[in-house]
């Protein structure tokens, strides 16, 4: 079992000294590493990272996101994915390579205001993200409720190998689609949605605490009913 060292840090705080092969959310001056975020610093063997507690969503390829169609041209839809970059869904990727603006109408597939689950096909520093809706579970969202959480808390909502999300799904009898951009789609019966929402709210506020899984289980099983946080 590798030794894990954890500490809370703020921007500019020294996280570690020496050589590390893998780092994230730190910057280096000579052999010293300083945090760039408010978060939890973690040193495991040769990797040193700061797990941020707050921050915007920066797209990455292959991320699953939940977005809203905000505009369209003759060849593409513009999708708001809760990020500083507006993303595009090409008509070609939906209608096929022989798409013709004269024959196919974009609004027939997705109208402005529609919610979609999509995957990020391509993104780099020079271009806005490109989306794709081809794949199982992707496409227009017809029913359910969208809950917004901080994008930095998404890993905690999913949990180790999806453990947390499974717990919530089992208790609330709802289906959860967690977008990496911090938007979560919940579908199921109204009581279940309310329960799932309260669990997400708890994770959003107490993601950094150690016994989070237990707290979520207590909330879902109703063992702290009537107890206000």
């Amino acid at each position: 079992m590798p030794e894990v060292k954890r500490k809370y840090v703020t921007p500019g705080e020294l996280v570690g000294k020496g050589r590390y092969n893998r780092t994230s959310n730190v910057y280096q001056i000579e052999d010293k590493f300083y945090s760039t975020r408010v978060g939890m610093a973690e040193v495991i063997n040769d990797s040193l990272r700061v797990i941020p507690l707050t921050g915007p969503y920066i797209p990455r390829e292959d991320d699953l996101v939940v977005g809203k169609i905000i505009d369209h041209s003759a060849f593409a839809w513009e999708v708001d994915i809760n990020s500083c970059f507006s993303s595009f869904l090409l008509a070609q990727s939906v209608f096929g390579r022989d798409y013709s603006p004269a024959r196919d109408s974009l609004t027939k597939k997705f109208a402005i205001g529609d919610l979609v689950t999509a995957k990020i096909l391509a993104f780099d520093r020079t271009r806005d993200p490109l989306l794709s809706v081809s794949g199982p579970g992707l496409g227009r969202i017809n029913q359910g409720e969208i809950v917004s959480i901080s994008p930095t808390k998404v890993p905690r909502v999913i949990g180790k190998k999806g453990a947390m999300i499974k717990t919530i799904e089992n208790y609330s009898k709802c289906r959860l689609t967690v977008g990496q951009n911090g938007l979560v789609m919940i579908s199921g019966n109204p009581e279940g949605i309310i329960l799932a929402k309260s669990a997400l709210d708890l994770i959003n506020h107490e993601a950094h605490t150690a016994d989070l899984t237990q707290k979520v289980q207590d909330l879902l099983s109703g063992s702290n009913n009537g107890e206000k946080e």
Binding site: T10, G12, N25, I29, Y34, V38, P56, F85
Partner: protein, 238 residues
């Protein structure tokens, strides 16, 4: 002549020469902003909010390699004794610019290409030294917004009253005193990002004031860290 200091070198509000005014900080006070902070620096009350990174308007201001930082320092009409015209004044335009320049070295701008970061600093009540309080609040708001930063920016002023170098001047001392030296630093990197001087210092006095202001900035930095820890880690901080 001696009217700002008494015979025991105490100031009008009872402070010693090297004493800061009481400071309060709170992070995350505005839910609608991506990051926010509220500071009380003596009788100064300052609110700062950060929006972004988001897309740039007008588009021609966009930088392909990095973000742009847009700051607005504004005094509310009720922040001063006599009503202040809410239209941006020459002074506010200047302070907006210097706050932006004081914060920019701290932010890893290249992490957010083609975007804009908006910082709004609103002075709710002013009592001298509001630009330093503004920089300090804005830096906290940026950290709260989760924008990659090399360091926090901490601001504090020094000055000269009745011929003696003093820390953190208030409104009266600023108006009646001999000099004012606002300063902002990146405490861990040991870099100065804001230094202005209004008034006269001898070389010796200037060095003394610089050292004193740095000491003040470091105290402010400790409070900034505590404010961030309070919000994010609560009482769990070891």
């Amino acid at each position: 002549m001696s009217k700002l200091l008494n015979s025991k070198n105490r100031r009008l509000d009872g402070r010693k020469l090297d004493e800061l005014r009481p400071i309060k900080m709170k992070v995350g006070v505005i839910d609608n902003a991506n990051g926010s902070a509220y500071i009380e620096f003596g009788r100064n009350k300052v609110m700062a909010a950060v929006y972004g990174p988001k897309d740039v308007h007008p588009k021609h201001m966009m930088k392909t390699e990095s973000a742009i930082l847009k700051c607005r320092y504004h005094m509310t009409p009720f922040s001063t004794g006599r009503r202040k015209n809410p239209a941006p004044s020459r002074r506010e335009t200047e302070i907006s610019k210097i706050i932006s320049e004081a914060l920019e070295p701290a932010i890893v701008m290249t992490d957010y290409p083609r975007t804009a970061i908006h910082v709004y600093v609103e002075i709710l009540q002013s009592d001298g030294g509001s630009r330093c309080a503004g920089v300090t609040a804005a830096s906290l708001a940026l950290a709260d917004a989760g924008i990659n930063m090399r360091d926090l920016t901490s601001g504090c002023a020094a000055g000269k009253i009745d011929g003696k170098v003093a820390l953190d001047l208030d409104e009266v001392e600023d108006m009646e005193g001999d000099a004012d030296l606002p300063m902002a630093i990146l405490p861990n990197l040991e870099k100065v990002t804001l230094l202005q001087l209004d008034g006269d210092f001898s070389h010796k006095e200037f060095i003394e004031a610089l050292k004193l202001a740095k000491k003040g900035c470091l105290k402010v930095y400790e409070m900034q860290r505590n404010a961030l820890n309070d919000k994010y880690f609560g009482n769990e901080k070891a």
